[in-house]
Symmetry: C2
Subunit: 440 residues, 2 copies
């Protein structure tokens, strides 16, 4: 095959942004070019890179003529079949991708912020022109969870999705658990190592995980769920003492993203620290690794595990999408898998969920106090599974309790009453316990 | 939508065999019919079930007119778009599927024996007519490993595939490890529980796993590998004592299916008991669960975990394929992903692999014997990582050694020499050690 012929036959793409992920995509397409051409039957050619700093692209071996600063050159070039967005952030990504789709381009994005907030309008634009909108890299880095939910597991009614989808917080909690260290100290270390950003709030407040959960739950349950609809609680209040008490009780602490449809038509979507049994498959997922467990009504429990971030794993997901979309384009079969949000399901308010709870309280250390506390819970139908009196602090005692499965509203009412009681010094922490066995 | 219209628009399929998996497929298509119709945009209708005992199908709610005994009725009916083979065994499945493909039907099969032995001719028949041949259920039950390798991970050069792909042997080894029980005793229990067949040889000799590995390795490395080319060693020689020594050394024993391409163009494919570090993600995969770890040059290590067998998980995989193939058929885009064996790579003879080895020997219990044994290994470039003298049996002693990474041929030569030495009473077991860290 002559070089000219190959070039004439190549699928031409444009890459928006040449940062960490964009560079990874360029590197992968170069390093594995022959392999991909063999698998796809055509070469993939980067015709444009949209990038303010040309040397970011040229240093990777791309020609200067490839680098453009003007998006209109890309969107108006009829040769460009696929636009790959790896800039991140809402704008200008949103406007560019809408433009691209309306011009009949196929779009691939790694942008979880965008999909979790503006997925609907993007999908509508794609559908209007029968074009592809793929976003595997937006959740779980190289883990092929979107394809699994949209295709391989499509025969199943999905009951639940539970995952560790934020590497930064999993790194912090793993270190705190294994080394008994403080949150602040480990956060600083994570920042030094580049695992946490200078402003870590999106990670440690659970917002990053909530965006990913919005995307996963929308696909799993076939209803549009956006980022603001996901309940999110971060890990900033977790103390080594909670982790240690949990370990005594046989639990491991993880920041979990949980989506369930227990009653048909009503979904719960929540991100928060959770105790899970030490034997749960998610309990062994440590450091920056991610894992997502999917429960389907036929497949049972399936877990996918891998690196949830990083240049090369994320590039693997983006280029996996490029190959798939290129194949669709070659077969004039784009738009074959479009938006799957066919229904309008209700989102359960957090107060209505049923859960087990771990509660750590400081109370007066004298006879009858435990009975008083237990009485408050009992009056609100919060039954206790175990109560452990732990240690005295002067004339106070720290107690740890784990409830049975109760409604969160009742628990909150009980805590409010306890807060006002003279025998209660402080409600030190409340952590949800997800105890249903995994891999059932 | 009227029933007639729906029926006229449905994708019509034929199911060959109504045994455990076939019944699962019928049940799933019934239970999740509306959901699947929503996701696909069309209903799926079982027009025929090929089954000798009609009540197997009619008891699931299928009409009598659905059940046929004559395959020609299926293959000659132009309405049938997809033939789903869930009978198992080589014949008559092979002949029927070749006929179906040649008549322009799309084919889905759960038949690992067939794909691992006759994949090539089936793919050629499919390719000739641009039809689909899907086989997700042939490996790992409901785990979407085939789709992951063929599509989601397609951007990667695959370095290795390592998996626990046989539930029966994993159940037996898990029980032996946790309860210190004998192989024979646990096998009998597994047979009672229905986890092992009356004739367990295909499972316990590693042949079932070897078939699955032939399929996985063919896709991973893009070269056709058939069942007889896979080196297979079973678990029948494993003793609780080996497992206990391994645990002391920090290892867990698993029947692993391993495929690697360390030097380009040369692949190793082998199934055998292997010690892996207790912290390895595959070490936590217990009972009848399966898990497959894939190492790609960009994605790093990815692991997929779930139920590797059973009626409902297997049906999930088969119907996932049905939905995908139906979509291809609706879009006149079948044959889009065909055979991926583009190359002819060599298979490394087992003698040429490099590995660490655990060796348990009975030797004379007297000074100088250890030095004599070590000398034999040293002369053949088999260097020892650790030697543990374990216990005396009369005037003999049992010793356990673990080698560094050495070539298997050298190890075998050393063992042959040791066997002929008067100081050696018995070579009790030799087990490969796969120590490279997972999830790198």
């Amino acid at each position: 095959m002559s070089a000219t012929l190959q070039s004439a036959e190549a699928i031409k793409i444009a890459v928006l942004g040449c940062g960490t992920v964009g560079s990874g995509v360029v590197l992968l397409l170069k390093e594995n070019a022959d392999l991909i051409a063999q698998r796809l039957g055509k070469r993939i050619e980067i015709k444009y890179v949209l990038e303010r700093y040309p040397e970011k692209a040229t240093s990777l071996g791309l020609g200067e003529e490839t680098v453009v600063q003007d998006f209109s050159r890309i969107v108006n070039d009829p040769e460009v079949e696929i636009v790959v967005e790896v800039m991140g952030g809402i704008e200008p990504a949103r406007t560019m991708l809408l433009q691209a789709l309306r011009q009949g381009k196929n779009v691939i994005t790694a942008n979880k912020d965008l999909i979790a907030l503006h997925g609907k309008e993007l999908f509508e634009a794609a559908q209007e022109k029968s074009r592809d909108l793929y976003f595997e890299a937006s959740v779980g880095g190289g883990i092929p969870i979107i394809a699994a939910l949209k295709q391989s597991l499509a025969a199943n009614r999905i009951r639940a999705v539970m995952g560790i989808v934020n590497g930064t917080t999993n790194y912090i909690l793993s270190k705190m658990s294994m080394e008994g260290r403080d949150y602040q100290e480990v956060l600083l270390e994570a920042q030094r190592l580049g695992y946490a950003e200078a402003d870590p709030s999106s990670d440690v407040e659970g917002h990053d995980a909530a965006r990913k959960l919005a995307i996963l739950a929308s696909i799993a349950f076939g209803t549009r769920i956006t980022f603001p609809e996901v309940y999110a609680e971060g890990i900033t209040r977790v103390s080594p003492r909670d982790i240690a008490y949990g370990q005594e009780l046989g639990y491991v602490l993880k920041l979990l993203a949980i989506a369930k449809e227990e009653a048909p038509g009503m979904v719960e979507v929540r991100v928060h620290p959770a105790f899970i049994p030490a034997a749960h498959p998610l309990a062994a997922v440590n450091d920056v690794f991610n894992a997502i467990l999917v429960r389907g009504n036929f497949v049972g429990d399936i877990m996918l595990y891998g690196r949830g971030a990083g240049q090369r794993p994320t590039a693997s997901a983006v280029v996996g999408d490029i190959i798939e979309v290129a194949r669709n384009a070659m077969h004039r079969d784009t738009g074959r898998i479009s938006c799957t949000c066919f229904e309008h399901k209700r989102i359960k308010p957090i107060e209505e969920i049923f859960c087990k709870y771990y509660i750590r309280l400081l109370v007066k250390d004298r006879p009858g106090v435990l009975a008083g506390v237990a009485g408050v819970f009992g009056n609100l139908a919060v039954s206790l599974a175990s109560v452990i009196q732990k240690r005295t602090e002067g004339d106070m005692a720290e107690i740890v309790m784990v409830t049975h499965r109760v409604q969160e509203a009742n628990l909150r009412d009980a805590l409010k009453i306890l807060e006002g009681m003279s025998i209660v010094g402080e409600i030190r922490n409340v952590i949800r316990v997800e105890e249903e066995a995994g891999m059932g």
